[in-house]
């Protein structure tokens, strides 16, 4: 079997085991069993459980970012871009529940080094969303009203809402990716849309 195929099988088995059993409970023995390889071979590939888990975080981060970026079509109007990006995000998290559990639950729960890995992913997504919001504001010709910090805050709100909804969707039976994306569009776009057109909520 080619080395690349075997390595992929080991990584798939590791993501599944870490995601379903949790980082602490997962053992290198069961990962090797699930991958159908010997335990020494797993250790030859990556020399510790910590390294294997870190490799899982990086692979799943890259896959998630690639899915979201592929989902957004730069030529579309801003609301369609957001809808497409959110659809891609929730589809990816729904189809890869173990990968999402590794990123959203396990990596954040088992110590600073892993949490730092996943915060790199989060910053990259926040930067991407900040760019989308900036493009939407320019499209609505209201750019001068939204300062950079407003956009950063809105991006934080949107990313936090999406993370929270993805966790809820995967843990609640029968919430589809489309439904989760629709909830967030109703929540966010209707608000962002008004905001982009210069309307702001004011305490009366």
């Amino acid at each position: 079997m080619p080395r690349a195929v075997r390595e992929r099988q080991m990584m798939d088995a590791a993501v599944q085991t870490f995601g379903q059993r949790g980082y602490r409970a997962a053992s290198m023995d069961e990962i090797a069993d699930l991958a159908g390889v010997s335990k020494p071979l797993v250790y030859l590939y990556l020399s510790s459980k910590e390294e294997l888990f870190t490799a899982c975080i990086r692979r799943e981060s890259e896959a998630l970012i690639a899915a979201v970026q592929a989902g957004v079509e730069p030529g579309l109007p801003a609301d369609r871009q957001l809808w497409a990006g959110l659809g891609a995000f929730f589809t990816h998290t729904a189809e890869n529940p173990d990968g999402w559990a590794v990123l959203h639950r396990q990596a954040r729960t088992h110590g600073e080094p892993f949490a730092a890995e996943v915060s790199v992913l989060r910053e990259e997504i926040v930067a991407f969303v900040t760019g989308l919001i900036g493009a939407a504001a320019r499209e609505a010709h209201q750019g001068s009203e939204l300062a950079d910090r407003d956009m950063a805050g809105l991006a934080q709100a949107l990313v936090g809402a999406a993370e929270s909804l993805a966790g809820w969707a995967n843990e609640t039976g029968g919430v589809s990716a489309k439904e989760a994306a629709g909830t967030l569009m109703n929540f966010a776009w209707m608000g962002l849309g008004d905001l982009m057109n210069g309307e702001r909520w004011n305490p009366r």
Copy 2:
């Protein structure tokens, strides 16, 4: 010194130390020093660093929930209730950055038992927000259009957005509680407000 005062000093010192130095780096020695008591006295109060940290999570959870509940006035219109609740939330997290760091960063990063403590807090806040959204929907006489699961999803989005913004506000210099609450109102209320009046975003 009365026992209650001394215990409060120990808890204050523990929250400050865990919040600023992190759970792992914090030592019982420095907590005792900061509280101005002997280390044996800290161990007499709570018998391990784990127990002391758990007590910190519970105290800070209760304080945060009490602050948000006290901020909401049930007689107000729904948007004013949300504004008041968000203002109370961001004021509390801004005034208690160490407590918020314990809940939002430390408790979630250092193992399942602590993460489970903080998820109890989160569920309580989601339930409270779900109630507020339900009241807002009834007020707008559109209750029949929002199913229970819609409201649960919206509450997840709102809580996720608020958590994300509070972390960002505390880590970004000069973002006031009012500014953070305003960002979320612009993001969420303008959207929720339209939604409550029966408007929904549709992919064209």
